[in-house]
């Protein structure tokens, strides 16, 4: 991706009231030398370029510092960019704008993409996404060169060199990715209900709970199977005992006749009880037959409603209709006031459906006097049948006793065993119901828990499994996170180390041509550049010229490896260099970047600006202040030379 600056425009900014436009060509010249006398806003222009590229936060004081004078209330800075995507293709123009309100001390960034369909100003910085991520204030200082950086890249406390490498090669993205992984895992783990077991210990604890629950369920199922098996055996035995008792009774003819009769009676009684219970249930469900008290209350209520002439015959719907008509049924007109009163008072009346419901209820109540069989009478019959059943059972017991008394020695043990079996079966039935009932009311009455009831044990096991799965998932997630973070961290460290070495070597190659007097080298990059020379193994103390040369060498080494071709903008690039170094620098610098913009003052002509005079793809821009304070912009070498000459003469 190739990024070039085509122009910039200042409205009511530090450079002066009104509009000043700086055009570098379209496409722009490779080298632009902008000659501005001191005080015309070179530093402000550099600051503004950095601000719009990086959407920098600006203080109120800083905003007001851009103001041309006290009479202007607003201003604008606009930077024109020409961006060519990867793989070539049509370059696109972007205009980054900062609008200032000097009175309020506020600003607003926007982007104009004139070539986009429906293009217009869009808030903020709208650039290709892979470019946008590197345009951070710290990185912008590398190519919109801040003289401070020349010192910072050698300051061990500031780690500016590492920052530059990390930003350009997007190593910061790995740091951000690590944080995103941490956040994503935390968020997912927080979303889990159980947060107690993110460790191996927690997983083991929940596994143990799950195993215990599974064991408990297995124990209950085994107990149920055993009890059911015992019940089957007992029922079989009960059947056998009963057959034997019948056989023993049958040995005595008269006893057998009685037994047969009692058995037949028992069947008849059971049948009668069923029929009567059904009749009683039907009578029970009808309130009018349940009790005379209830029936009298129903009829009384019907009478009350009838006497009170309820429900009223006029419904609220009637008043609604009247209100919606223009005229009352008496012929008088209905205006807004009357309509409002009608709508309000209609609430005192029931709706038609309510009237119908109450009327239906009243009709039913008034006809509730019933000739159907009463619950009480049916239950009296039922009660009699239940007593008959009891009497029949007692008669059967007596029969067995008589058989025993007639010398049948087996009868005693048989009847005794039958009683025992009945007791055992009743107890077993309760135990089985306690174990297997899923009815919540029954579970409550048995005070069932997961340790005594199979459905509850199954539910508990399901909950334990869900917890275990969650805890295991959480733990697995923690382990995956740690592993990924570790790998990312190692990749980041290795990449930084290798990049440092590549850039150190490149920087040293460039330094060989830039600084010939004393051969300086970068010994190590560890946050900052540590220098050495032929004369000293640790070279902290360097001249201004050497400092700048090291910075240029480092930056060009760094940016030459970048996936972007960036412009390089520098303020007074040679002012602090002595003439010998200037000559060297001016030989090397033009080849370093695809686009270079130099803000120069007249004194930089010698041994620096003049080296560009013969270069074809160079644009010379000269700003001057007229006697009446106006700013004039001139393009071309002649004016550039003339101003330089004047400057030198001054």
């Amino acid at each position: 991706m190739k990024i070039r600056i085509t122009d910039w425009r200042c409205d009511n900014l530090r450079i002066g009231e009104g509009t000043e436009v700086f055009e570098l060509g379209d496409p722009p010249a490779r080298w632009s030398l902008v000659q501005m006398p001191n005080g015309l806003g070179k530093t402000s222009t550099m600051t503004l370029i950095r601000a719009v590229l990086g959407e920098e936060d600006l203080s109120v004081e800083k905003v007001r510092g851009f103001r041309a004078n006290d009479t202007v209330e607003s201003g604008t800075f606009e930077l024109g960019l020409l961006i060519e995507g990867r793989g070539g293709g049509q370059a696109k123009h972007y205009r980054l704008t900062a609008d200032f309100d000097f009175k309020a001390g506020t600003y607003r960034y926007s982007t104009l993409r004139a070539e986009e369909r429906g293009g217009g100003h869009e808030p903020g910085l709208v650039l290709p996404s892979d470019l946008k991520h590197i345009l951070k204030p710290e990185f912008i200082k590398l190519f919109v060169f801040d003289g401070e950086l020349a010192r910072d890249i050698r300051d061990l406390n500031k780690a500016a060199a590492d920052h530059a490498i990390r930003t350009l090669y997007q190593l910061d993205d790995l740091s951000r990715l690590r944080q995103r992984i941490r956040d994503a895992v935390s968020k997912r783990q927080e979303a889990l209900e159980r947060t107690s077991g993110r460790t191996q210990k927690g997983v083991s604890r929940h596994q143990k709970i799950f195993d215990e629950a599974a064991g408990q369920l297995a124990t209950l199922k085994k107990a149920l199977a055993e009890k059911k098996s015992t019940r089957t055996k007992l029922k079989r035995e009960q059947e056998g005992v009963r057959t034997q008792i019948e056989e023993h009774i049958a040995r005595s003819g008269d006893l057998n006749d009685r037994r047969l009769k009692l058995s037949k009676d028992a069947n008849d009684i059971a049948s009668d009880i069923q029929t009567t219970t059904l009749a009683a249930l039907i009578a029970y469900r009808n309130p009018a037959t349940l009790s005379p008290t209830i029936r009298s209350r129903l009829t009384n209520l019907g009478t009350v409603l009838t006497k009170a002439r309820l429900p009223k015959s006029v419904s609220s719907d009637f008043f609604d209709e009247i209100a919606d008509e223009g005229e009352c049924i008496c012929g008088r007109p209905i205006g807004d006031a009357e309509r409002e009163i009608l709508k309000h008072r209609k609430e005192q009346y029931l709706a038609q459906d309510q009237i119908s419901a109450i009327a239906a209820m009243k009709d039913r109540l008034n006809s509730s006097a019933t000739s159907e069989t009463s619950f009480s009478a049916t239950c009296d019959t039922l009660h009699g049948k239940l007593e008959d059943r009891q009497a029949n059972e007692k008669a059967m017991d007596r029969l067995k006793q008589e058989a025993e008394e007639r010398g049948d020695e087996d009868m005693g043990p048989l009847t005794e065993r039958e009683s025992e079996i009945n007791v055992e079966l009743a107890a077993l039935n309760i135990d089985i119901e306690r174990l297997e009932t899923a009815d919540t009311a029954k579970q409550r009455s048995y005070q069932s828990t997961a340790k005594t009831n199979i459905p509850l044990a199954q539910k508990h096991l399901g909950e334990c499994k869900a917890t275990l799965d969650e805890v295991e998932a959480s733990f697995r997630l923690s382990r995956q996170r740690d592993s990924l973070l570790d790998q990312l961290s190692r990749i980041e460290k290795k990449a930084l180390a290798e990049l440092r070495e590549v850039i150190r070597t490149e920087t040293n190659d460039r330094l060989k041509t830039l600084v010939k007097m004393e051969q300086l080298r970068v010994k190590r990059i560890d946050g900052a550049l540590e220098l050495e020379s032929d004369k000293s193994s640790s070279k902290d103390d360097v001249s201004e010229g050497q400092s700048l040369s090291v910075a240029y060498a480092f930056l060009t080494a760094l940016l030459s490896k970048a996936p972007f071709e960036l412009p390089f903008i520098v303020d007074s690039p040679a002012v602090s260099l002595d003439l010998d170094v200037r000559k060297e620098v001016s030989k090397v610098i033009p080849t370093l970047f695809e686009q270079m913009i130099f803000f120069v003052i007249s004194s930089e002509q010698a041994a620096f600006a003049e080296s560009f005079y013969e270069l074809e793809d160079t644009r010379f821009v000269t700003l001057s202040k007229t006697a009446d304070g106006r700013i004039e912009t001139h393009y071309g070498l002649d004016e550039f030379k003339r101003q330089s000459g004047e400057g030198i003469a001054e």
């Binding site: 009808n286 009170a308 002439r309 209820m361 029954k442």
Partner: protein, 163 residues
């Protein structure tokens, strides 16, 4: 909102054999109804009953066995409220207001939210009376006989002016 048994009532009836007669079940609404009628009889409400989940499906009407008597149940609720609150049965507007408050012709059970709340509270109080009068039943026939005795044995106290 629907009809609900109290937790204690559900436990009380839990041992009853629900299918004593072939093809006929002793339903949850039968248990609720037993309690409700006693609550209506004495026109008394439980204060803050602890209720089980509703035994009727959401939006369901009365089960078939009770549908012929739904108007009676609504009327008995209105009647019990008139008695409990000692309302003048001759006061036409008051009786109408009370009826409208408790009934809703559009709801599946014909009851307003208030009406359902009162039904549940009457049933909860009725259960307290039932529990004091009999042991938890094990069979429907025994329960019906004991329940009939309960209605025959006791005459309700004067709990306000009858409707």
């Amino acid at each position: 909102m629907s009809l609900r048994l109290t937790e204690d009532a559900a436990s009380f009836f839990s041992k009853i054999d629900s299918q004593p007669i072939k093809g006929v079940r002793f339903l949850d609404i039968d248990k609720f109804y037993a309690c409700l009628m006693l609550g209506f009889r004495y026109a008394q409400l439980a204060s803050d009953p602890s209720l089980m989940p509703a035994f009727l499906a959401a939006g369901a009407k009365y089960p078939d066995a009770y549908q012929p008597y739904d108007s009676y149940l609504l009327g008995l609720l209105v009647e019990a409220e008139i008695r409990r609150r000692n309302l003048d049965p001759k006061n036409r507007d008051l009786i109408e207001q009370e009826t409208v408050k408790l009934l809703d012709p559009h709801s599946p059970l014909g009851l307003s939210e208030d009406g359902i709340r009162f039904m549940n509270r009457y049933a909860a109080k009725g259960f307290e009376i039932l529990r004091d009068a009999m042991a938890p039943p094990r069979s429907v026939d025994d329960f019906l006989v004991a329940y009939a005795d309960l209605w025959q044995a006791k005459s309700e106290p004067d709990s306000g002016q009858p409707a």
